[in-house]
């Protein structure tokens, strides 16, 4: 059975602690650009926690929403890429092939979620910070776009392990770094093609909705409110 990876994010559980953000950076070799450049909008965050305020003091409510690549089925970012750097894999992931990318940044403009990031400069890791780099994830050079991959290296590893052990991938066995770190289990990852999986169950929850659903991008992330 082919997989179709998806995610459910329970906003009621999310506390905005940003553990997912930090875990993602550590897992995916997301470069840090330094405070000056970050202040100028060059920071890269494959996942971010958006914070919205409601109401006037003292009746203030805060909403947190982790936003990462929604891995849309009808992704606006893909067809606009002239070099097929951005395309859809058989398992429904929006793949980004860094080697093909020439840096038109068109995909980032087309993306309504603003979850695609551009490498404005070559990443720098002061020694010995480079020892921390994850060898399973390529380091992106200057001038390419990068974005959340649903930790595709973990997906591949999980599938390989399951295959070596002669079994199907178990639900919950594969977890992206964000879902793994999340202290409140707000992020659940799994196979949408498996009707028994936790993520399938949550995706059909009446509390569920998709981000900017009316744009017709068919995201694979369901937000539960």
């Amino acid at each position: 059975m082919s997989h179709r990876w998806g995610m459910a994010v329970d906003l009621d559980r999310c506390t905005g602690c940003e553990a997912c953000v930090t875990a993602c950076r550590a897992e995916n070799n997301v470069p840090t650009v330094g405070p000056e450049q970050a202040a100028r909008g060059r920071a890269i965050n494959w996942i971010r926690v958006e914070r919205y305020y409601e109401g006037e003091f003292p009746d203030v409510r805060v909403k947190f929403r982790p936003v990462l690549c929604q891995q849309c089925d009808a992704a606006p970012c893909e067809p606009v890429c002239p070099t097929y750097a951005s395309h859809h894999t058989e398992e429904g992931l929006n793949a980004q092939v860094y080697n093909r990318c020439i840096g038109t940044r068109y995909c980032a403009n087309a993306c309504p979620y603003n979850v695609r990031f551009f490498d404005f400069a070559n990443p720098v890791w002061d020694k010995p910070l480079h020892l921390q780099l994850n060898p399973d994830v390529s380091v992106r050079e200057v001038g390419v776009m990068e974005k959340c991959t649903f930790c595709v290296q973990r997906i591949n590893e999980g599938k390989t392990r399951a295959k070596a052990e002669g079994r199907e991938v178990r639900d919950g066995e594969i977890k992206p770094a964000c879902a793994q770190a999340c202290p409140t289990t707000a992020i659940v990852f799994g196979d949408l093609n498996d009707p028994e999986s936790e993520v399938s169950r949550l995706s059909h929850s009446p509390r569920g909705s998709k981000l900017l659903e009316d744009l017709g991008t068919k995201p694979k992330i369901t937000y539960l409110r």
Binding site: Q37, R40, G41, R42, A43, R48, E50, R51, Y52, R65, V67, P76, P79, V80, C81, P82, T83, Y84, H87, R100, C101, I102, G103, T104, R105, Y106, A108, N109, A110, P112, Y113, N114, F117, F118, D119, F120, A121, N122, V142, G143, V144, M145, L211, L212, L215, G216, T217
Partner: protein, 452 residues
């Protein structure tokens, strides 16, 4: 027309080519210096990455794409106008066509540079071309950028040929009037042109077909440039009006640029006898039409957004209307409509000075229009948390200035080496017409009366 007149035309129009004033060198040096500074900025940007530019998350397109759209728009000055005028057989077009077509070719070249300048990895720009390479993959024909590649290539090829073909007889003339190396170069460029009746006939037929073919290409080019934006689900980009809006805007800015260029040529090269007030007058009328058309499109675009009241679009709408982009927006409206309307609409004001003032404002206004289409929408996409603000950086400003200098530079060089007014077409214009309306008669006489 007698031989003396013909020779005077020859002499007048060849004078800029055959005699060089010291000012020429000064201008070339100054413009060349600015271009070198621009190239240096580009090299600096390439070596450091786009980190030196002002673009940022989420405003990933800004000055460079503005310049791209702007210059492609300017390119609609020449070939399109020249082709239309050729097709409708407007006699007054003859001194105008070449200086217009030159704008097209150079503006296209400059415009086509910007998608490369703005790339993250410009050295890989050839990935856009379909050719067998070790990469083993060809471009994605669903991408508007690939459409751009094909459209601009076609338009550039077409308009270069459209410029070159009618210049062949003038190259032949130059070949006859020069000696030595220059004669050999012009001889090569003239392709051995004799001027037999058969050649003239074939040239005229070819130009008719070219004119027919180039008009839809020109329209398609700017429509496709507008597709770069309207294909994305970005607030105020995703609009069906963008195709015609961009084409109208392109012709609008193109005519304005043409008027400015003509006025400069007229003064600098002393072409007062060939570029008459009536040319400015007629182009002014055309410009007025386009100004009204532009205002109409802008109104339609804004009205539909306002009436539709979609939240994401309204954020951008109000930001341009009353927010931080409002000064730019209203400057644009003044430059493109409010001031040009009386200048071009009142016959007494539609003088050379009047049209040039209006055109200069329109060039500025149309640049702002491109900027205002691109930046506010990107800065304020759907999720408010990700809103940003854009400020240009020195590199972007320098490269922008350098391309204006490059345009002037190329124009100066071209007018130095090629007669900027088509000599043979000018002469043909003086022939008695087989069927002339009284008005055309009057027009022709006014045009070809050589002043004492």
């Amino acid at each position: 027309m007698n031989l003396e007149t013909k020779n005077k035309i020859n002499d007048d129009l060849l004078r800029p080519v055959l005699h060089t004033s010291p000012w020429f060198y000064v201008i070339v040096l100054v413009l060349g210096g600015i271009i070198v500074a621009g190239l240096g900025s580009w090299m600096y940007q390439m070596s450091h990455g786009l980190v030196v530019a002002g673009i940022k998350w989420p405003v990933y397109w800004a000055f460079y794409i503005t310049n791209f759209v702007f210059w492609i728009g300017i390119s609609h000055a020449g070939t399109l106008i020249s082709a239309i005028l050729r097709l409708v057989n407007a006699t007054w077009r003859r001194p105008v066509t070449r200086c217009a077509e030159v704008i097209t070719v150079f503006a296209l070249m400059i415009g086509a540079l910007f998608p490369i300048i703005h790339l993250g990895r410009p050295w890989l720009a050839f990935y856009l071309m379909p050719y067998p390479s070790e990469r083993g993959i060809w471009p994605n024909f669903r991408s508007p950028l690939v459409w751009d590649f094909f459209a601009i290539s076609t338009y550039l090829t077409g308009s270069t040929l459209f410029l070159f073909l009618p210049t062949i007889p003038d190259f032949a003339l130059m070949r006859d009037r020069t000696t030595g190396l220059r004669q050999r170069i012009y001889g090569m460029l003239s392709l051995g042109w004799q001027g037999t009746t058969k050649q003239w006939h074939r040239l005229e037929s070819a130009m008719q077909i070219m004119a027919i073919a180039i008009v839809p290409v020109a329209v398609s080019v700017h429509t496709i440039v507008s597709f770069d934006f309207s294909m994305s689900p970005v607030p105020m980009w995703h609009s069906t009006v963008f195709g015609p809006y961009f084409v109208a805007g392109a012709i609008f800015s193109g005519i304005a640029a043409l008027i400015v260029a003509m006025a400069v040529l007229r003064k600098v090269l002393h072409l007062e006898e060939y570029l008459h007030p009536v040319h400015f007058h007629n182009l002014g009328k055309l410009l007025l039409t386009m100004s009204l058309l532009w205002a109409y499109f802008t109104f339609v675009e804004r009205l539909t957004v306002w009436y539709g009241n979609a939240p994401a679009e309204m954020a951008v709408f109000w930001e341009t209307q009353t927010g931080s982009y409002a000064p730019l927006f209203w400057t644009m409206v003044f430059c493109n409509f409010v001031i040009p309307l009386p200048l071009l609409g009142i016959r007494r004001l539609r003088t050379i000075t009047g049209t040039v003032v209006a055109s200069s404002l329109i060039v500025v206004g149309m640049w702002l229009e491109r900027f205002l289409i691109i930046v506010p929408s990107l800065a304020m996409k759907n999720l408010p948390y990700s809103w940003g603000f854009y400020r240009p950086q020195p590199v972007e400003i320098m490269i922008t200035i350098a391309t204006f200098a490059a345009m002037a530079f190329l124009y100066v060089l071209f007018s130095k080496f090629v007669p900027i007014i088509s000599i043979w077409e000018l002469k043909v214009g003086a022939h008695p017409r087989r069927v002339l309306t009284p008005q055309e008669e009057e027009e022709a006489q006014e045009l070809w009366r050589v002043r004492p």
